[in-house]
Symmetry: C2
Subunit: 342 residues, 2 copies
Amino acid sequence: MEKETTIYDIAKRLGVSPTTVSRALNDHPAVNKNTKQKIYEKATQMGYRSNMFASNLRKQRTNTIGLIVPRLNSPFQSSAIAGMEKVANEAGYNLIISQSLENVQKEIANANTMFNSRVDGLLVSLAYNTESLDHFEPFINKAIPVIFYDRVAEHKSCTNILIDNIQAAYKATSHLIEQGCKNIVHISGNLNRNVYSDRLKGYKYALIDNDLPFEDSFVITNTLSEEAGIEAAQQILAMDSKPDGIFVSNDTCAVSCMKTLKQAGMSIPKDIAVVGFNNDPLTRVIEPNLTTIDYPGYEMGEVAARSLIHFLNGLSDVTITNTITLRSDLIIRDSSLKSKLS
Amino acid sequence: MEKETTIYDIAKRLGVSPTTVSRALNDHPAVNKNTKQKIYEKATQMGYRSNMFASNLRKQRTNTIGLIVPRLNSPFQSSAIAGMEKVANEAGYNLIISQSLENVQKEIANANTMFNSRVDGLLVSLAYNTESLDHFEPFINKAIPVIFYDRVAEHKSCTNILIDNIQAAYKATSHLIEQGCKNIVHISGNLNRNVYSDRLKGYKYALIDNDLPFEDSFVITNTLSEEAGIEAAQQILAMDSKPDGIFVSNDTCAVSCMKTLKQAGMSIPKDIAVVGFNNDPLTRVIEPNLTTIDYPGYEMGEVAARSLIHFLNGLSDVTITNTITLRSDLIIRDSSLKSKLS
DNA sequence: CCCACATTTGCAACCGATTGCAGAAACTTT
DNA sequence: AAAGTTTCTGCAATCGGTTGCAAATGTGGG
């Protein structure tokens, strides 16, 4: 196993000082072009690679971005991560990733690890049951930028990146109403999480604006998992007055709910129209195809990473930029098109 | 912004040497229990956190594992990553991730970045068109363990982690034959990649063992993407003698192919039985549900990370362990059950 | 009380790159 | 040719832990 070449080795070979080698390799203007050229060549020839630790130690910077997500294996999150990786990689940053598995305790542990790894900045999508943001205080105190995306929370020193969930849910619900639905059930997640409470709001506002009554009993709150969808369907089937429309806060749950309703003999959209949220690949496979909200995961990842890197380069200030809202759209498919039936 | 506390600060406050502080914090046996206790308390009180760069610089170790995948946003890969993250995290390793986007050039660039980041070990699932493994030589030369999983390649100093693709494909094809299929098409990916060439072999062997003819014209090679599935379906529809069974090398492609065939009026499994590969969530949504091979992504991720960490701890040797094979199973669903129809 | 031995502690030299400041060298200007 | 600029180069300190070796302290036996 050969040993590493350092700038000292290069310096010795060329009879210059390590200082000059360091400067040359960083393309410092105060180094003669010819010297630079010679150093470059020698470095390549000797198979030199910079020792990031020495460099980081000195520069107090890591060129690393930390990422904490609830789960890595969801279509939305993995798209977002793909987008982040692309941007980070192009900008010369490494991405270190950890998952909270929807558990605050693990999220706290992960945040500490990230802090100790001295990430330059942090991207976070909060766990299902996170309430306090205390575990991010160490970052704030050290002026390490923290950006929340999707599952966000208000904090005076952090930027949030999200879509207008209220508006999206409003559009989804209005669409159901336009299709003639009068009794619309909403299946939602933990209402402490912005995404779900906002979607509930959008649902509610749409009802009110269309002079339809809002009833608590028409809101089902669960974990939005596949199993939860089945249970929700059973609840709906057991209702005295059956709804004619359902707006679900995510696609996984919407799809399993639809499947269960179909198995029970309900016809979709004739008996019940369904709208989901996220535009997961599933939505184009279930029959009828699921109307949903297009949630731009990849783009959100790109924007999040790009914003963070901007902050790191001092091009803008986290504490000032409060919220970045991305566009989202209603994608209408057959699961909600009652009008097409006639 | 307060400045970091170092072991020197702690040492000064307690009137001991930095050496002792360093040892105490690393739980070195040669430090008095009382002293240790005092140092722990002071460190906590002063909000000390170890500077990994200084430590890495000295120890020549990073506690970081590199991961290169073709794409982050596939159900299989994201499950695998989830498994790796769990294991790595528990063992105190960071995971840095990059994607090749199925492009050798990017894979090479990523490998270089990982090398320069001085990862302690590398986990790789190869890009679609990677042929040479030269870009991993630097790792091998420095005795940095490299483990390939899923998309693997033979290399005398690397471990491969995979399922028995030949056997799985053999099972899948045999199942179709048992269901009465006589003309089975196989849709495959790039045959330079082990996974696809092995599955082709399994398909071929199953035909031969059942005295069915193997015909080149019944093997369709494409990118296995959603679009490719549609095109493959069109090719099949245009065939003079239509097949009565299809074995597809992944689920995404199988599902879109099925959809297209159904739209064209084919009945599944009556006219054509279909078997996929991977057990993506999609398979339980398409109608009829898709028979497929259960490919344990999460477990594969765990095994890969665990093996790597074993190597790093010197508990075993990469150059000796050649291949780790995981169990996989055929999951029979309605898309292939012709026998049930009668 | 002295010596052998075990237990603790500290000195000082690393690890490899970066950077403020000073000084040398080369080039202009008068 | 002397003085003033500009361009390059290098010294030496620094970032914060780690570790081989030596020294200090403590313990117990004789």
